[in-house]
Each structure stands twice: as C-alpha cells, then as structure tokens.
C-alpha cells in the first residue's frame, strides 16, 4: 500500500514535469528572457515567408487601404496620423514610420499594467491592427496587484518595456530612481505639443523632465441619475450649484433620499471620498491652491481644504440626504452603491462617480433611458466649471526602436481608437475625433470635458503613496464613520506627509 502511494506521487510528479515542459515549449512567454533565444531558429525559419510577403504588403499597403475606407464615411484622413507610415513620417514620428515600413518584424514589446479581464481584451483587440501592420508583438500582462508587484519587478531589474501607470505619483517614484526613459527622448517634442494640452504634459513631468506619455483618461465630475423616473417625477437636470441644492431639497420633501454614496472598497476604502474632496477643492478655491495642495504646500488643515470637505460633508452628514443614512456610507461597496437608483421606484436619485461606474450598473440598463448623466455644477462662479479626471500614463524603461514605435503609436489618437470604439475609455490626444467613440455616452462625456474651463488630475493619485493611497483614504473613512472629528483627521493626514 505504501509502495502504491510512492508510485502515485512519482507519477503525479512526472506528469506535472511533462505538463510543465509542454507548457513551456508551447508558450514562449513563459520565460521572457530565455524565450527569444529559443525562438530564434523558428524566427529564422519563418523569415523567408515574411520576406516573401513583404512585397505584397508594400504593393497593397493594407494599412493605407484600411484607413482610406473609413474617412469616406466620416471625415478627412489628415487627423489619423498614427495609422500609416506616411502619416507618422509627416509629423516626425520616425520610429513609428519605420515600424509601418516593416523594419521591426518579429520584435517583442512587453507591457505591464493594472487593467485585466474585459479591459485587457479591449486593449489587445485595439492594438491588433497595429501589431498586424508592423509585426511588433505587444505582450501585455495585466495584474490585479499591479501597484505591489511593479515595485518588486523594478527593484529586481525585471521591469517590462512599457509600464501603464494609473497613478503618476507611482511613476514619479521610479522616474526619480532613473529607471524610466523620458518620453521626450522617444517622441518628438513638437508632436507632443501639437497633440496634447500643456496641462497633460505637465502632469507627466517629474522634476522638470517629461517621463510619462498620457494614453487615456476617465472623467470623474459626473452625476448619474435614473432618467426615466427623473423625468416622470418632473425633476430637471441642475446646471448650477443652487439648482442642485434646490433639487436635493425637493427630493427630500417628496419623501426620498437624493444621494447614493458608498466608499467601501476593501483595502482602498475611502477613495471615493477623496474624489469628492478634490471636486470641491476645485469648486471652492483657486486652481493655484489646488495645485499647491496636491504638491503638499497647502496643508490639509488649511481653511481652504477644510471648507471644501465641509461643503460636501453637509450633504453626507445629513441622514435625510444619503440613502441608508450617514453610517451606511462607509459600509457600502462603492460598486453596489448606485444599485438603489435602478430599483422601481428609485431608492435614490443622484450618484457621483467616474464614467467607469457604468460597468456596475445592472445588466441591460441603457444610457439615455434608464440612466442619464450631468456635470457636477461649479459651486462658486469665480472658479468656473472645472473637471476632475484620472487616467493612465505610459512610461518606457527601454529605448529600443520597437519600444519607441509603440510609444509613438500611443501618442497618437490611433493608439486608443479601438478602445474608444469598444467603450470604457476616453482619449485626450487632440487628434481623437468625437465620432470615434463607440457609444453615445462616452461621446457626451467627452463633450462635457471639452466644455470645462479647466481640467485637473485626481489629486490623491498625484500625492505621495503614503498620503494619496494611505492616510487620505483612511482619514476620510474615519471622519465619516464618526471615529474622529475633521480637525484631528486633517492633522493626522498632514503628519503622514513624507518628509523630504
């Protein structure tokens, strides 16, 4: 009997060795460093076919053709420079032009980022055309624990060629360690200033060097409402802060709760409250003060920050204003919090969250029917209508030609076009056309952003990690759960700011 156990163990061990061997051989990605060498022979063997194909490619110019089809339906081709060698060359994107001319066939660019599952599929399908046209293989690896693992990978010298940072603050850490190739070394400065607003470029700049290249963003200053019921009740979309307050009071006197708020998010509990703080910082004080606050020059305990928090805390701390009352705020999962809005009759009427929240809405609910969206109005007309955004910045760790080509590709609207069509992302590149958006919702949001008088990035993502994804989250949670008063919380956040 004992012998049988040993036999079984040995068999299982052998089986897994065999499986591993098969798996390893079938998947060159299993060993990033070792694979290219092992692959070389096959590459060489394939070369003739590729070379044979090349003439046809040059003759037919499939990329040109693909492009030529579309503009006929909508607009001139001038805008999409990222889709062809000629277009790329015309604005000085030489790496990209070389790639389209087939000079980088068979090269591999590794990428690492935080988006997984559906977003990963959208990304991969959106770069498919580029991969087919250039022969560059973009190997994206998504990780749920990106923020934790990327640090270890940088430390160990195992960083991917391009990193997709959802937080520029995190990128700055590695940029200061000299581990990131400045974006301006890869993409010509003239093209960057032509295709990006200066404020985006500033947000990718660390200590005077522009490291990051912005690829996509999501909009935060949005309020969602149950459109059908909203119209049936005769409510109107508010365009000013006064109108919003009148609407809130109206809803309360009609016997309902206006807002659905939830800030629970596991280890990240509290982040929606930091978004609200940023929204009201932008709406109750100047942009200079906002920037100073994000940079750590204006302390949390200053009257400006306190006033911003109190402006929305007046809503949050009023049991009649929030679905489930104030205590429910910290215990409701942010993704579940808008659900009561879709009940019949609606449990709440307003929900402020970024555009990604639609993926949490009940299946089958449609924009324009079941829900609508409006811009969270400015509080003080003096500060205009600011827009809060967050987004993903690309940073390269290598300057190989194919990495350069991919970075240049991402700097064009074409680099995000497939994702825009698939939905779930917004592009900030100037050559992005509104009709590229696959859904009316995102086109509408892009239009709202375009109407804004100023755009600012999510402050907590720019602050040092100890604050932006630490004490700020925790402090807001403590305050709204009633564990501490506002002054104590703000003093604690100030104390946690890393000393230089």
């Amino acid at each position: 009997m004992k012998r049988r156990i040993f036999l079984l163990l040995t068999l299982a061990l052998l089986a897994s060795f065999v499986l591993a061997a098969c798996g390893g051989a079938a998947e060159p990605t299993a060993a990033p460093a070792a694979a290219p060498a092992a692959e070389e022979p096959t590459m060489a063997a394939e070369e003739p076919t590729m070379a044979a194909e090349e003439p046809t490619m040059a003759a037919e110019e499939p990329t040109e053709e693909a492009m030529a089809e579309e503009p006929m339906e909508d607009h001139g081709d001038m805008t999409s420079v990222g889709a062809s060698a000629e277009g790329a060359a015309s604005v000085g994107l030489t790496c990209l032009a070389d790639a389209y001319n087939g000079q980088m066939q068979g090269t591999v660019v590794s990428m690492n980022g935080p988006f997984t599952d559906e977003d990963q599929v959208k990304f991969e399908s959106s770069v498919k055309a580029f991969e087919d046209a250039t022969g560059i293989d973009i190997q994206y690896e998504g990780s749920k624990e990106f923020e934790a693992s990327i640090g270890v990978r940088f430390e160990a010298g195992d960083a991917p060629d391009i990193v997709d940072f959802p937080q520029p603050g995190l990128m700055a850490t590695f940029a200061r360690q000299g581990k990131i190739v400045p974006a301006t070394d890869l993409v010509p400065d003239s093209w960057l200033s032509q295709n990006y607003l200066q404020s985006w470029r500033d947000m990718g700049t660390v200590d005077g060097t522009e490291y990051g290249l912005w690829q996509r963003f999501n909009a935060k200053s949005l309020v969602w409402y149950p459109k059908k019921a909203f119209e049936a009740a005769g409510y109107e979309v508010p365009t000013t802060w006064e109108e919003l307050q009148t609407l809130q009071d109206q809803i309360v006197s009609d016997g309902d709760t206006p807002w659905c708020v939830g800030i629970e998010s596991g280890a990240a509990t509290g982040w929606p409250a930091t978004d609200w703080t940023e929204e009201f910082m932008l709406r109750t004080t100047s942009l200079d003060n906002y920037d100073a606050w994000v940079a750590g020059e204006l302390p949390f305990s200053s009257p400006e920050v306190k006033n911003a928090i109190e402006t929305f805390a007046n809503i949050w701390n009023d049991d009649a204003m929030v679905y489930g009352g104030t205590p429910a705020i910290v215990t409701t999962f942010f993704g579940d919090s808008p659900t009561p809005m879709f009940e019949d009759p609606p449990g709440c009427w307003l929900h402020k969250q970024g555009n990604f929240i639609t993926s949490f809405f009940p299946e089958g609910s449609t924009y324009g029917e079941d829900y609508g969206v409006f811009y969270l109005p400015g509080v003080d007309p003096e500060y205009g209508s600011p827009f809060l955004v967050a987004g993903d910045v690309m940073a390269a760790t290598e300057d190989r030609p194919e990495v350069c080509a991919v970075m240049q590709y991402f700097s064009t609207g074409e680099g995000i076009r497939g994702w825009l069509a698939a939905g779930g992302a917004l592009g900030m590149q100037k050559d992005v056309q509104l009709d590229w958006y696959g859904s009316q919702l995102e086109a509408d949001i892009a239009a709202l952003v375009a109407d804004a008088t100023s755009v600012r990035f999510d402050g907590s993502d720019l602050m040092p990690g100890a604050v932006g994804s630490g004490s700020f989250w925790k402090g807001m949670t403590d305050y709204f759960s009633g564990a501490a008063d506002l002054d104590t919380v703000l003093a604690e956040i100030d104390a946690s700011w890393p000393q230089q």
Binding site: K2, L9, A12, L13, A15, S16, L19, A20, G23, G24, A26, E27, T29, A30, A31, P32, A33, A34, F115, T116, D117, E118, D119, V121, K122, S125, Q139, E141, S143, K144, E145, S149, V152, R153, E155, A156, G157, D158, A232, A233, I251, S253, D254, G255, D256, S265, G266, G335, T339, E343, P345, S359, F360, E363, R417, G418, L420, A421, A422, G438
Partner: protein, 371 residues
C-alpha cells in the same frame, strides 16, 4: 454510597461532554454556515445576490401585494390621506400602516408614488437558481468588442482549465521536492554524527522566522540573472526554499523519535545510511510526510504572492488564484464569479485533504512529543 459517587461522577463527566459538544457544534456552525451561504450564492444571479439574502431560498413570510392603485392629483399629499379605510400622513403611509396581517403602504415618493395593499403570506422561497456563474468560470467570459469600423468582434475570454493545470504543475513538484530534501536532511540531523550538526540545525530552525517577503527582491534579481524568471522551475525552487525549514524541523522531530534499536540492528546487519533511509526511515515516517504534504500543498495551491512575483500573470502561465482575482475585472465589477470560482478552486485541496486525512491526525502529533 458508592452508587451515589458513581452517579455524581457520571453526571460531572456528562456535563463536561455536553459543554464540549455544544462548543464543537457552535464552531462547526460558525464555519459551515457562511460556506453554505457562499455555495447557495454561487447558484444565484448577481442581481439576486445584491437584492436579497441567500436565506430567502427557505420558506418564509413575505408581504405580498394584493391591490395597487395610483393616487390621483386631488389627493392632498401633505395632509392626512385615506385609502382602503386606512388614513395617515405621507410619512406614516410610507412606513406602512399595519392591521393584523394586512398593511397599506405608499411605495415611491410623493410625485410618482403608488399605494399598495399587502398581505403577509408564506412563500416557498426564492428558487431562481442559475448555473451562469459556473459557466462563466469554467467556460470563460464572452466579450462583445465594438470595433472602429462598426463591426462587433466576439472574443472568448480565458477559462479556468489552463490556470487549473498551471496550478497543478506548480503545486505537485513544489510539494514533493521539499519533502524529499527535508526527509534526507532530517535523517541526517537525527541519526548521522558530523561536526557542526547542532549549529546547522539551529540555523535551519532560525530560518523558520524569516518572513518570505524580504527574500522576494533578492531572489527575483538572481532569477533574472539566471533566466529562471517566469519559469516553472523558478517557482518550484522558490517554494522549495520557503518550505524547507518547517519541513526539516517537522520531519526531524518525527524521525528522531524512531526506535534506536531498529536502526542499530540494521547497522549491525551492514546496512548503509542510504539503505536505512530508503527501507526503514521513509516507510516509517509516512504519517509525518503525509501531514506535511497536506500543509505544503494547501499553502502552494492557495499562494498568490509568490506566483505573482516569480511567474507573473500572463494567461499561459498564471495560476488559479490569479485567474480568479482577474475574473473579477479591473474594478471588481464581476465579483459574483468569485463564488463559483472559490468552490471550484476548493475542490482539489478537499480531495487532497480527504485522501490523506487518515494520516493527518497521527501526523499532527508526530514529533509533538519528543522521545
């Protein structure tokens, strides 16, 4: 007299037994009820999970609507209103005015509300079960991706099968290798005399308290240099290294308690250390080996961090824990698949546990009392 003491004694024993049993039952309930709830939830749709508890599958009393009407414009919503012979203000009606097993309740707000008459009735429970979660987990999700040219591309997401195999590929060698090495080491420490034996053993025991997190960066550096990064061999070695101190210590405690006479008589008969190890020590320490195998297998199977660092999360090499975490989506929007995913990933550890459990209890005590 003697009979009295006997009953007294008996009673005392039975009180103790009752106490123990009650505690055990409570512990079992505390562990199994949430697991049962998870099992029920894994068969329910996301909206059901969100809007009603899993216990609503049991028969229970519920308010059932028997009549419903919309109050007209003429009703003064701010004053006292009368419906179906029941009158009250808006606030009172909103909360529901109860009369025995009937209640009149206002649903919705003053503008678009309706008045509903409800009766409390027994319902069989909510039995809207679905296999959707399991289908998603086992078959992979289907994504409809709209493309720039207006066409829709259907992409089949990764399924569990590959990740399941990867987990087996990682777990089995990462369990067997450390046990083999540790058994050799334990025998050496227990029965061979060589200089520095005590010092070496203390070092091994001291390694027990070193947290593996501090070793991640140096080992990854080493692996990058040796091209071991992202390979299964790399993660086998990593798990072996992290598992060895405990394995050696545990097996040493067991092997050193084997009767000296058996080993000595084998020596006298001319057996070498290797023969003794293979013929005597290994078969005799099966309980300890099996119990450690369970520990190590569960640890490796459930591991997320080491796999994330050393083999990464590419679809072709990622293990089950990573696959499950990824299925939830970038922002955790598909959390309902966790329920089914958890049960599927539980299967293998359960099989391992039950097939080795008869060694387990014996093995737990193995080495706990050193002879």
């Amino acid at each position: 007299m003697t009979a009295q003491t006997a009953t007294k004694k008996k009673r005392r024993i039975s009180w103790g037994a009752i106490f123990v049993n009650v505690v055990l039952v409570l512990v079992v309930l505390a562990w199994s009820i949430p697991t049962f709830g998870l099992l029920v939830s894994s068969f329910r749709s996301r909206f059901d999970i969100q809007t009603s508890g899993w216990w609503t599958i049991f028969p229970h009393q519920e308010w059932v609507t028997v009549a419903e009407f919309t109050p007209g414009e003429e009703v003064d919503r701010d004053g006292v209103m009368t419906f179906e012979g029941v009158s009250g203000t808006f606030e009172e009606l909103r909360a529901g005015i109860k009369d025995g097993s009937t209640q009149v309740i206002w649903i919705g707000n003053k503008r678009i509300g309706k008045v509903v008459v409800q009766q409390k009735e027994w319902t069989a429970g909510n039995h809207d079960f679905t296999l959707e979660n399991y289908q998603t987990v086992l078959g992979g999700k289907t994504f409809q991706i709209q493309q720039p040219d207006g066409s829709t591309l259907t992409v089949q997401g990764d399924n569990f099968v590959n990740a399941f195999l990867n987990s087996l590929i990682v777990s089995i060698p990462a369990t067997v290798i450390p046990i083999l090495i540790a058994a050799f080491a334990a025998y050496g420490f227990a029965w061979m005399r060589f200089p520095g034996r005590k010092v070496l053993f203390i070092i091994v025991v001291a390694l027990l308290v070193v947290p593996l997190q501090i070793a991640l960066v140096p080992i990854l550096k080493l692996y990058v240099g040796l091209d071991l990064n992202g390979t299964f061999l790399g993660i086998w070695l990593a798990h072996t290294g992290f598992g060895l101190p405990l394995a050696t210590y545990l097996l040493f405690n067991y092997i050193s308690t084997l009767p000296r006479e058996i080993l000595e008589s084998a020596f006298i008969d001319g057996a070498s250390h290797f023969t003794i190890f293979m013929r005597l020590v290994l078969p005799l320490s099966v309980p300890a080996l099996a119990s450690f195998a369970i520990f190590q297998f569960l640890w490796v199977w459930n591991d997320y961090l080491i796999a994330l660092i050393f083999i990464g999360s590419k679809p072709d090499v990622q293990v089950l824990t990573q696959r499950i975490a990824e299925m939830v989506g970038s922002r955790g929007n598909d959390w309902q698949v966790l329920t089914a995913g958890a049960f599927i990933s539980m299967l293998v550890p359960l099989i391992v546990f039950f097939s080795l459990q008869r060694f387990f209890v014996r093995g737990l005590m193995a080495g706990s009392v050193k002879g």
